[in-house]
């Protein structure tokens, strides 16, 4: 059977084996297929789901929210209204976060360019720091 064992998945995705088992226990991921000896075998579909969970957690979505989003992901056409609403709300959050990140990225770029344009090192950062004291 093609697939990866829990240790390999843990290394690949940076999720501990305990956490992977926990996700299965709370049914965030469906029951993982087992070998005859009872060893879990993760297939690509499982990995895709786990990657989604990881991304959503980086956005600080709760496990409950992630579970709802996963339902939408599995069957978008038949998702319940509240799941669609949640998905829309989360999309809005992401758009807002992206805008914030873009501003922050531009600000950091500008600061770095200011530093490199100055022959005296980086007095700009020092001035900003001193203003915040």
């Amino acid at each position: 059977m093609n697939g990866m064992h829990i240790g390999e998945v843990s290394t690949l995705l940076g999720i501990s084996a305990d956490t992977l088992r926990y996700y299965e226990k709370i049914q965030l991921v469906p029951t993982i297929a087992r070998t005859g000896a009872g060893i879990r075998v993760y297939v690509e579909r499982d990995l895709s789901r786990l990657r989604f969970i990881k991304r959503a957690q980086k956005m600080q979505f709760s496990l409950r929210e992630i579970a709802a989003l996963l339902k939408m992901r599995e069957d978008p056409q038949h998702a319940r209204d509240e799941v669609r609403l949640l998905t829309g709300n989360k999309l809005d959050e992401i758009e807002e976060r992206l805008q914030d990140l873009q501003v922050l990225r531009n600000e950091l770029r500008l600061l770095l360019n200011l530093c490199s344009a100055s022959k005296d090192g980086c007095p700009i950062i020092e001035r900003i720091d001193s203003k915040e004291c």
């Binding site: 501003v103 770029r109 500008l110 200011l114 344009a117 005296d120 700009i124």
Partner: protein
């Protein structure tokens, strides 16, 4: 009714060697253009960091005209003059 003057902003920073040249260019051009139609100021990006980022300023010197970032680096005298003349003509239309 007379049009409001064109607002030019030269974004500079402490320690930026090239920024002085941008202001110098502007001063020279101002002698050739109607001074009552143009207003300008130097913007210290450290003092007005949020505003600079909002306009998209990423390097020094940059020049904004009427709140729009037009030059993202030092323009030549010719480029700057032509841009301002075009803006003044648009204002006359």
């Amino acid at each position: 009714m007379s049009r409001p003057p064109i607002q030019i902003e030269v974004f500079s920073s402490p320690g930026c060697d090239r920024c002085g040249r941008a202001s110098e260019l502007l001063r020279e051009i101002m002698h050739e253009l109607p001074s009552d139609r143009i207003q300008w100021r130097e913007v210290d990006v450290v003092e007005e960091l949020d505003y600079a980022v909002k306009l998209g300023v990423l390097s020094m010197p940059s020049i904004a005209i009427d709140g729009e970032l037009v030059f993202k680096s030092q323009p030549s005298m010719k480029e700057l003059r032509e841009t301002l003349e075009a803006r003044l003509q648009t204002g006359d239309a």
